[in-house]
Symmetry: D2
Subunit: 152 residues, 4 copies
């Protein structure tokens, strides 16, 4: 279990998405784990929780970077919860700790994470999310994870 050498893929997206976005996030998380990458996310509900559940079902490791002061506020599928106490300023840390980001759906919090991803020169892949310059669109969870792995 050498975590140092594993790719870290961030999954960003809203806390209150629709059913389809949750399914997409679950598949993305599962594929991340099946490809031996670590899932990084904001540690809360919605897209974050669905992706975390997928990653755990795929046998992977999950890392959640939380806005609050209590590690125990993470969703139940987070292995390593990091409390920051920074509120929304923690969005910057989600982007910093991923080698590449996949955005699924999402509101303004997700937009801020896309922006930080680009500030830090990370590749940002989008699945039905904000259509802004610098986001590379994928059409399926499979394609998004392949792009994140650098295979496409």
């Amino acid at each position: 279990m050498d975590f140092r050498k594993k790719l870290r893929i961030g999954v960003i997206g809203g806390a209150k998405p629709g059913k389809k976005a949750l399914e997409t996030a679950y598949q993305v998380g599962r594929l991340i784990a099946e490809n031996e990458a670590i899932l990084v996310c904001g540690g809360l509900s919605g897209v974050m929780e669905a992706a975390s559940k997928g990653a755990k079902d795929g046998g992977g490791l999950t890392l959640g970077i939380l806005p609050g002061v209590l590690p125990y506020e993470a969703n139940p599928y987070i292995d390593i919860a990091i409390a920051t106490g920074l509120g929304y300023s923690r969005n910057s840390l989600v982007a910093l700790n991923a080698d590449v980001l996949i955005a699924v759906d999402g509101q303004y919090g997700t937009l801020s994470e896309i922006a930080f991803g680009r500030i830090y020169k990370k590749k940002v892949i989008g699945l039905n999310t904000w259509a802004v310059e610098g986001v590379e669109r994928a059409s399926s969870p499979e394609e998004a994870v392949e792009m994140a792995l650098g295979n496409r």
Copy 2:
């Protein structure tokens, strides 16, 4: 000089804009001051400095919230420099400390500030900047500042 009751207008935009964006930022800053509002910005160069210079030429007060640890790194038109030492995470603080934001030009840093503005439910007005949902477009510095003042 009761600063507590004055409206705070944030001006956000890139550190390396073109000539036209600099002129726009200068006019926005000047109009902010002439309308007795306080200018809030990131305290550095480009749009931030041009708007600060405009605000000082208009006799106003300028507040710069810096990414680094030294208040003295602010541009020369900042009256009150706040050092944060937070790097780009300070972008959240720029949005928090403005009642309303005007975006001029800008790259991904500006996009993150637009996103934080919307997270915190602030009105965000745009002048030749990111065309994302939630940014209300203005066509001139005069219109942007009128919108920020709530007159339009």
Copy 3:
């Protein structure tokens, strides 16, 4: 009103001090203002509010750096309130934005600010506060402010 050239003196101390500490803080704030320095503090109650009131009674400018997201949570004697949304991590910013610090009474929050003051190589002066290495003791508000001004 050239704020850029004025010395900034930070006053740190607890939110729930005894009566004597409040009087001390008030005097410190008043002397800071009478000596044309700017008062920097955490913007809330207790020592912070007493020092701010003193500074306003002395005709000075007060700067409050808050843990929360609302500038309007500052005590009524703060001229320029800076919201950070960082919780206790904002203690670092109080130290960063003062040229020199005066600690009055205080609990662990004050201890963290003393530590940050020393991390950032600021002079830290103490009035009935934590007796740790690096805190220079003063025996009165007058002496503390004289030391902060560099006159002793």
Copy 4:
């Protein structure tokens, strides 16, 4: 490998300690791992690195919360590196992410982490470190780790 249920013990201390402090930190880290707890630290050199090496030699998991923006700046014994980009403000996060803290030697950075530990109501155990109220002294690595585990 259910990391969620494991105790997290933070080890705090200076980046440039003497030889004896390094040996102490190594033993503390090793004992943390042998007792199936997770080591949390600031991820850099000195006490942080020695404790991390001890924890890895003891077969444990190490978590490093860094001041910079690059996870790869962590010392070679950190399994999970968290980049914050917050500079010294990250000291608050080290305290937040430990259930209990052991301080070994240390300068002002360590003092700030002791203070944050107490702000957040964590037990803080000291081994030849700052003698401030609220730090419970231990006389050996064994005793310190036993105290952290709640056995004494």
